[in-house]
């Protein structure tokens, strides 16, 4: 028994060191990529792209299921982005609330006989509407089929060569499209995907579809998620992007070459990690064709999204994410350490397997092994305390590195906000992290009870800065599986 415990302890220790080294390496790569990107943004004359015909037109595809609360504000923010030519395609995925009516009423939508020949099979499209306002907005009303199906319907209707897949609960920064499409203009032949930087919207002040004051959220749960987002989108993704190993583009902001999405058959309906699935299939598609390609991350293309503010919703979200990851890990097992899949096969996907999929299992084992060792007298309390402190400090140090890199964006410089951010770094490891591990363990072993999309209480993007009105009407957008 003691030998088994020792073996597990050493395995956990090795895993811990490997995780920290991996995060440190990513932070270094990210720092380099962010510096280069910053220089480009300041001196690369990115704005010249606006006056040039080199900027390819983009279709923004927005699936909406029971998004009545925030859809108008969100679409308004999208309509105000600065870009020479774009259209917005909103797909009402059989909403049970008045999403459709609100869109029709607010944007003066007219039913139009828009003929299109679907490149991807979807649930029945009932009607296509077009707006009378100057910005091109198309509304597709279709039978419910889930997020992926709605996006596929939007891609079918999209007219432009690049499609931006996003959500209805996001606000897009005005220059997000320019900052992301400049990667396409930079290398038209190779760029098939561009991902954006997702930040929590909770707590920010929103006026007329714009963020007028980016603030640290008021709730601790939202604050801790903000730290997670910064670690992922600022501390890791620029690094992965710099070695063309971006495993997925975020569902809240992912621009794809439309033809690439059509070629791989669109998004997989019912997949809980449809964004990862799509990105990986595109990677595999281009590897098989042996065509040079790249999927990149644009840190300054910022999109703001509502993050869960209650534990229940957060638990469902995390379980869903991990189940999506599990399925993707199984579906793309052939990519693991496959040199024919290039950097994604040798770096990106193995890292996803070891440091994302296995992380909760190993961490959970680590938590188990300590009391068991105590029970069998196989652990020196002093040594255990030291290891615990090292784990705690290493986690805090990695988060601090990400916050350093985030300084490039210049958010949260008020003294109180800075102190709150610093406290997050230390508070994170005192409960939420362990709880997330448990949720992910449940995702692996939880059976059918974890196979739901989960609910999301929408407060509407315009209301997120304020405390919820009394009472917040909970809307239950349970995305059904098809």
């Amino acid at each position: 028994m003691r030998t088994a415990i020792n073996v597990i302890s050493i395995a956990v220790l090795i895993y811990f060191v490997a995780t920290q080294l991996h995060m440190l390496a990513l932070a270094i790569l990210s720092a380099r990529a962010l510096y280069k990107q910053r220089m480009f943004e300041r001196f690369g004359r990115v704005q010249d792209m606006l006056g040039s015909d080199l900027s390819p037109p983009v279709s923004i595809v927005v699936p909406a299921y029971n998004e009545s609360v925030g859809i108008v504000e969100s679409i308004r923010s999208m309509a105000m982005v600065t870009y020479p030519k774009f259209e917005i395609v909103v797909v009402n995925d059989g909403s049970k609330d008045d999403t459709l009516d609100k869109m029709i009423e607010h944007f003066k939508m007219l039913a139009v006989p828009m003929p299109f020949r679907p490149s991807i099979k979807t649930a029945e499209v009932r009607q296509v509407y077009h707006t009378k306002v100057p910005v091109s907005i198309t509304l597709v009303d279709k039978a419910n089929g889930g997020r992926a199906d709605a996006l596929n319907a939007g891609i079918n209707v999209a007219r432009y060569p690049y499609v931006m897949l996003t959500d209805a609960d996001v606000l897009i920064d005005g220059d997000a499209l320019v900052n992301s499409m400049r990667y396409v203009a930079e290398d038209r032949t190779r760029t098939v995907g561009v991902g954006g930087n997702v930040r929590p919207l909770n707590g920010c002040t929103v006026r007329h579809g714009h963020i007028v004051d980016a603030k640290v959220p008021t709730g601790w749960l939202e604050r801790l998620q903000m730290l997670e987002y910064i670690r992922s989108f600022v501390g890791a993704r620029p690094g992965w992007s710099s070695i063309n190993s971006l495993v997925f583009l975020s569902g809240a902001f992912g621009i794809y070459l439309r033809q690439a999405v059509v070629d791989v058959g669109g998004l997989t309906s019912g997949h809980m990690g449809e964004d990862m699935d799509l990105s990986m299939r595109i990677h595999r598609h281009y590897r098989r064709l042996k065509k040079p390609y790249r999927m990149v991350y644009a840190p300054s293309a910022v999109v703001w999204t509502e993050v869960p503010s209650t534990r229940t919703v957060l638990r469902r979200q995390r379980i869903r994410w991990h189940r999506g990851l599990m399925r993707a890990i199984w579906d793309f097992r052939s990519s693991l350490f496959n040199p024919r899949h290039g950097p994604i096969g040798m770096f990106g996907w193995p890292a996803m397997f070891f440091f994302e999929f296995l992380a909760p299992i190993i961490e959970f084992l680590g938590y188990l092994v300590v009391p068991v060792s105590f029970l069998f007298g196989g652990i020196n309390p002093y040594l255990a305390l030291l290891l615990l402190m090292i784990a705690f400090l290493a986690g805090a140090f990695t988060s601090l590195l990400a916050l350093f890199l985030d300084e490039r964006f210049g958010y949260f410089n008020k003294p109180l906000e800075a102190l709150t951010l610093l406290s997050l770094v230390f508070v994170e490891n005192m409960g939420l992290r362990q709880q997330t591990v448990w949720w992910r363990i449940r995702a692996i072993f939880g059976g059918n009870s974890t196979k739901q999309w989960g609910d999301m209480e929408r407060r509407g993007v315009a209301n997120l800065g304020a405390k919820p009105a009394q009472p917040v009407t909970p809307i239950k957008p349970v995305q059904p599986e098809t």
């Binding site: 690369g44 007219l110 009607q127 040594l383 140090f397 350093f404 770094v425």
Partner: protein, 379 residues
Amino acid sequence: MSGTLPWVTVVLAASTVIAALSLLSIKMAHRIILNSRGVRTAHYVAAVAEMIGRRYIPTDTPKGWRTDPVFHDILIDYRRLVEGEDGRFIDRMVEEFGIVDALIPRIRRIFPQTSRLQAVSTLVELADHSAAPFLRSLLDDRNDYVQTHAAHGLARIHDLTAVPLILDLSTRVRPWEAARLTDSLIAFGTDAVPLINEWVADEMASPRPSMEAVTQSARVLGFIGDISAEPLLIRLLSSPNLEWRVAAASALGRVGTDEARTALLTALADNAWEVRARAVRALATLADETVGPAVVALLSDTEWWVRQNAAETLGEIPGGVAHLLEALDSPDKFAADSALNQLAEMRKLPPGRLPVLVRERPHEVAIIIPEPVETRPSS
């Protein structure tokens, strides 16, 4: 291992504390810098406005002004906003303050990259003709951004001798920089067209022409829209290089002569759909009703983009709507679809033509009845 762990803990704890304190300091410094920048901006805006208003340049201006990037930014903003006498007064201010002389030494390679680039980007906005030799020398700099900014600076001061240099440089850089370098030529206007024509002709004749630079040059010729570029663009339109043909097709639409129209009509039969798509869109800018029948034929093109562009062109040229209405009854389903799409987009569907998809909401059909076509009021 038990001997090393305490040290690891101490080092990690110290690093974490140092990192936390540094982060806090940086955030505070950012805040102070931003506040200070705001205060100085307000101060300079008022000061420069007063100087322009009173046509007076004080001799005892603080020395820090001439090297302060915030002051430079304000001068640049004013220079862009005002013209004529006021603009010339700002140029005089720049000269009397000795800003260009202060910036040039900061562009030397011994300075950090950010500082150099900041100086270059300011210099190109404020420099006058006397800085032309220096700006031309920057075209040979190792840094792409410096080169691109120098090209834009030369264009701003209208130094035509730099045109061939910029074009030569665009053959040696990446596509993004080539596009930005050639963008700068647009500011030279029609004066640069003979030089660009000559350069492109030489490049086409060379055994290994630069594909990207020629493509970008054709695009720029289109932007400038000078008639003297037409023979060259027509040559490019019939070249074997696809990118050149695509760029030339777009550019010819902006030149807009009879010869351009004839060449574009020929290009409608090009084997590459990209050329057909661009050529048919370019015909829209000619606004010539005689091209209608040729464009209608493309409503049945095998490529979706070409059909869409043909429909859009018909929506824009005189008499095009009539062609679209005719195409609604075309036996070719694709042509009918394209026409239907375009007419719906233009809200010009005839009453009585029921939308194909409206089945479940008949009450909404009423609102798609086209709005009256706007007619020019008789004078």
